[in-house]
Subunit: 171 residues, 2 copies
């Protein structure tokens, strides 16, 4: 049975969470997670840190697919612009490496992990730990990144079971 | 007298305008302008096109400094997010090349080129042609990119005349 590595990303203008899992059949294993700290310096420097940080994660763990949480922006137009900047850099980091990218809404993540599209954030964080058999505390951004990676693993395996071919999300 | 090349960028999720000028003393000369068409394909592909397109312009013309128009977003939160993505990629293209980046509000561009912060867009486009001695028609995105490059040239020379040192905008 082939193992597929999935990189989940939770982009943010301050912290960008990442999580890498390895999926074999229906089982997911945790490989790495963390967050890129882009809180210091001017915007170009901060965005470059996100690009390089994700580039390093991709180079080290060689994921085959990338999953990103779709943003539901309930804030101001100006904070949407700033978040968009970080998001664009995360997307381009995956694209540069030639990796297919899938996006999931927060409700899809909640539904896949908790079985309820309106689940609380803490329930999602709890399920990430249960599903990956993790005990240590982790940053919320890292947990969110693992959650979207697990969602992609779930959707992927469902599609495969139903005989659908997986389309590359782009290209 | 040393010549300095300035790359102006007008990022957009569909078309990203660019313009390169060479400034010698108080004089600006047009080197190139155009727009990167990122209207086709999925978002990762489109953002990658912007990154690579700007990378090619930078590699070909080797600008020393980059100027970007600050966005005034009067649209929806979701369009701000999409514009932010393109903008983040443009910023990171400059940062990757180690180029200092300056940002100017639309009112600063209008003030520098027309002498009136509330000038019409057509007046700005007209002044771009006059200042750079251009006759051909050009895309609005390309003209906007040249406008912000000219604004940077203007601000730069004013700062130099007044004895201020130019700070790198980041790093």
């Amino acid at each position: 049975m082939t193992a597929t590595r999935i990189l989940g990303i939770d982009p943010g203008s301050r912290y960008t969470g990442y999580g890498v899992i390895e999926v074999t059949g229906g089982r997911s294993r945790h490989l790495a997670c963390g967050r890129i700290n882009a809180t210091v310096g001017e915007m170009p420097e901060r965005l470059l840190k996100i690009l390089r940080g994700l580039g390093e994660v991709i180079a080290e763990f060689r994921p085959a697919e990338v999953a990103l949480e779709e943003v539901f922006v309930n804030k101001s137009v100006s904070s949407a612009l700033v978040l968009g900047q970080a998001r664009g850099v995360a997307i381009v980091a995956a694209a540069q490496a030639g990796l297919p990218l899938a996006e999931y809404a927060a409700t899809q993540v909640k539904l896949a992990l908790v079985g309820n599209g309106r689940a609380e954030k803490l329930q999602v964080q709890h399920m990430v730990k249960v599903l990956l058999n993790l005990r240590e505390a982790m940053a919320a951004d890292a947990s969110d990144a693992l959650a979207v990676a697990l969602t992609h693993a779930h959707v992927r395996s469902t599609k495969m079971r139903s005989g659908l071919t997986l389309n590359k999300a782009w290209g």
